[in-house]
């Protein structure tokens, strides 16, 4: 990489000693990207922007927030009423968490459909699942900070999950609480960790990107680019597309912040925490509902906890469960059906997680939970053996331009729009 690529002498001077500009040029400008990416490929950059939004608003919120059981609730109310623009900052942070999860869930389903977890991107996928786990931990602890009823009881129920561990469970829970119930030591440490974890996420995101740039993006056809004719430089093609996606995202985000800021929250969290009384119907934040449904579906304490963590763990080993060499669901007719059934199953779990644990909801939760695991542990391994995929196009260009005679091209073209 020659330094005379840059005309500015200062840039050249720096780049010679610290090749940061070469690096950015390589990874963000000339970086060859498949030319057929559809809008589902916008969600990675959206996730990155969401993370930055969360960190920036979080740090300024922390300047007015007090992590003490007697003051936390009031300090958040003060942010809402008295701190300059505090209501805006808090609503951005609060809704930002929801939008972050929406974006990441779409990003994950994209990967599931287009087989982005398959070789050689297994580690890229695993790092992604790790980010999801860290995000869940961060959001869970953040939700405790306002110290409302849902904060308190959410913290109680989730930390108690660990009491299911045989023998050492209770000691672990006491260790997590720093006492005999969720109390001031718990709030203090959750604040410290809530501040820390987003920066751990930044670290893992960097690894995620390093792994991504090793082989480049997957694409809707799922075959590798065969040469420069199949790729375009990242800039300006995908920078512009990412910015367009970002403006749509920010429009929706702003609409939520200004018009429905509490739509995705729970009204009970505006009641100060009361350790003596559990709200009649406690639910976690919406993004945890599918996992919560799985937890409640199993009538055994340890079993429920294992199933809930298993629902994430199974994602880690997904690259070895789905052995089909075909990445994209476009060329896997049976997989495609099961993918959508699985998608519906996840939505159903989300709905059931928000319903009371009684009657028909319990039965349905069990069926949906069973299907969740069946999909990963039985259907995907089986499909990789019995399914006959459709013929793949010969190259990305051909599928994009549609001017070829191969059978697979027709459906591929439809998809790229």
């Amino acid at each position: 990489m020659s330094a005379d690529k840059f005309s500015n002498p200062v840039v050249r001077w720096i780049d010679h000693r610290l090749p940061i500009f070469s690096f950015m040029d390589h990874e963000l400008n000339e970086y060859p990207t498949p030319k057929n990416l559809n809008y589902f490929w916008n969600f990675g950059s959206l996730a990155g922007v969401s993370l930055v939004i969360m960190i920036v608003t979080g740090i300024v919120l922390a300047m007015s927030y007090t992590p003490h059981v007697d003051y936390a609730f009031q300090s958040v109310e003060r942010i809402m009423r008295d701190v300059n623009h505090g209501w805006l900052l808090r609503y951005i942070h609060m809704n930002g968490a929801s939008f972050f999860f929406i974006v990441v869930f779409i990003h994950i389903f994209r990967g599931l459909y287009y087989g982005s977890y398959k070789a050689p991107r297994e580690l890229l996928w695993i790092l992604g699942v790790l980010i999801l786990l860290l995000m869940m931990a961060t959001a869970f602890m953040g939700y405790v900070l306002p110290w409302g009823q849902m904060s308190f009881w959410g913290a109680t129920v989730i930390t108690n999950l660990f009491s299911a561990i045989p023998f050492i469970g209770d000691s672990i829970v006491t260790f997590l609480w720093g006492g005999f119930s969720v109390d001031n030591p718990t709030l203090n440490r959750f604040f410290a960790l809530h501040y820390l974890m987003p920066f751990l996420i930044v670290g893992v995101v960097i690894l995620h990107l390093v792994a991504l740039h090793r082989f480049g993006s997957n694409n809707p056809i799922g075959i590798d680019p065969s040469g420069p004719q199949d790729t375009v430089p990242f800039h300006p093609y995908y920078t512009i597309k990412d910015f367009f996606g970002l403006s749509v995202f920010l429009t929706l985000f702003a609409a939520a912040i200004f018009f429905f800021p509490n739509f995705m929250g729970h009204p009970d969290n505006y009641i100060p925490a009361n350790p003596m009384q559990t709200p009649a119907h406690i639910v976690p934040e919406w993004y945890f509902l599918p996992f919560y449904a799985i937890l409640r579906a199993v009538p055994d304490k340890l079993g429920g906890v294992l199933a809930m963590f298993g629902a994430i763990a199974v994602l880690f080993i997904l690259p070895w469960l789905d052995r089909s060499p075909i990445r994209s669901g476009n060329f896997r007719p049976i997989f495609k059906i099961f993918f959508w059934v699985f998608f519906a199953d996840c939505i159903a779990l989300g709905y059931l997680g928000g319903m009371p644990a009684e009657g028909i909801y319990v039965v349905l939760s069990r069926v949906a939970t069973a299907w969740y695991f069946l999909h990963f542990l039985v259907i995907l391994p089986l499909l990789s053996v019995i399914e006959t995929p459709k013929p793949l196009p010969q190259s990305l260009s051909k599928s994009v331009l549609g001017g070829s005679a191969m059978a697979g091209a027709a459906s591929a073209v439809k998809e790229k729009v």
Binding site: F175, M276, V298, P356
Partner: protein
């Protein structure tokens, strides 16, 4: 030549083994050192001395009418005290152990059968069960019902149905007088 060579090889082998030992020993020492440094960092999260030193509380139970309950706070947790009715006591005492998920006789859960004293924290995931106030749902076994994930407890606080694994916990308590109990 050949002979010298072998003896040299033996020398290096012996040296190699010595070196292995030194390497392993150094790693082990570094490991022990790292663990010793990590321990205070981890153990600080366990309950602090003042948290552990939580005092016991005394409760006057003379004002609880038959069929009524009160909730008091002990160690940051609710403690249920119920003045049970004759019916409740009879039912609690007549249950067959074989019907119980966590078999325990009612007499083993009370020191005076009239008063049931237990920690009001669901043994599933820690919610406070309903059934203390009149009008609240008491579950299918006329005791307490945890709304979080649907655990039903009977009039002895024993788990009868739902995901909770064990009966509601009994705190350490003594009757100081007929109407005064000390918890903790």
């Amino acid at each position: 030549m050949a002979k010298i060579n072998t003896s040299k090889q033996e020398d290096t082998q012996v040296d190699g083994r010595r070196r292995d030992f030194i390497v392993v020993a150094s790693y082990a020492m570094a490991g022990i050192g790292a663990a010793a440094v990590a321990w205070p960092l981890i153990d600080q999260m366990n309950p602090a001395a003042d948290t552990l030193a939580l005092a016991s509380i005394e409760v006057d139970i003379s004002k609880i009418d038959i069929g009524q309950s009160i909730t008091v706070k002990w160690r940051g947790k609710p403690v249920f005290i119920r003045h049970r009715t004759e019916d409740e006591i009879n039912i609690a005492q007549s249950v067959e152990l074989s019907q119980l998920k966590d078999p325990q006789l009612d007499v083993d859960r009370v020191s005076n059968p009239k008063y049931l004293v237990m920690i009001g924290v669901c043994t599933h995931l820690g919610c406070v069960p309903l059934g203390q106030k009149t009008g609240e749902i008491k579950g299918e076994y006329d005791g307490w019902f945890c709304p979080c994930h649907g655990s039903h407890y009977d009039s002895s606080g024993r788990i009868r149905k739902g995901p909770a694994p064990v009966n509601l916990e009994i705190p350490p308590y003594t009757f100081e007088t007929e109407s005064l109990i000390k918890i903790g």
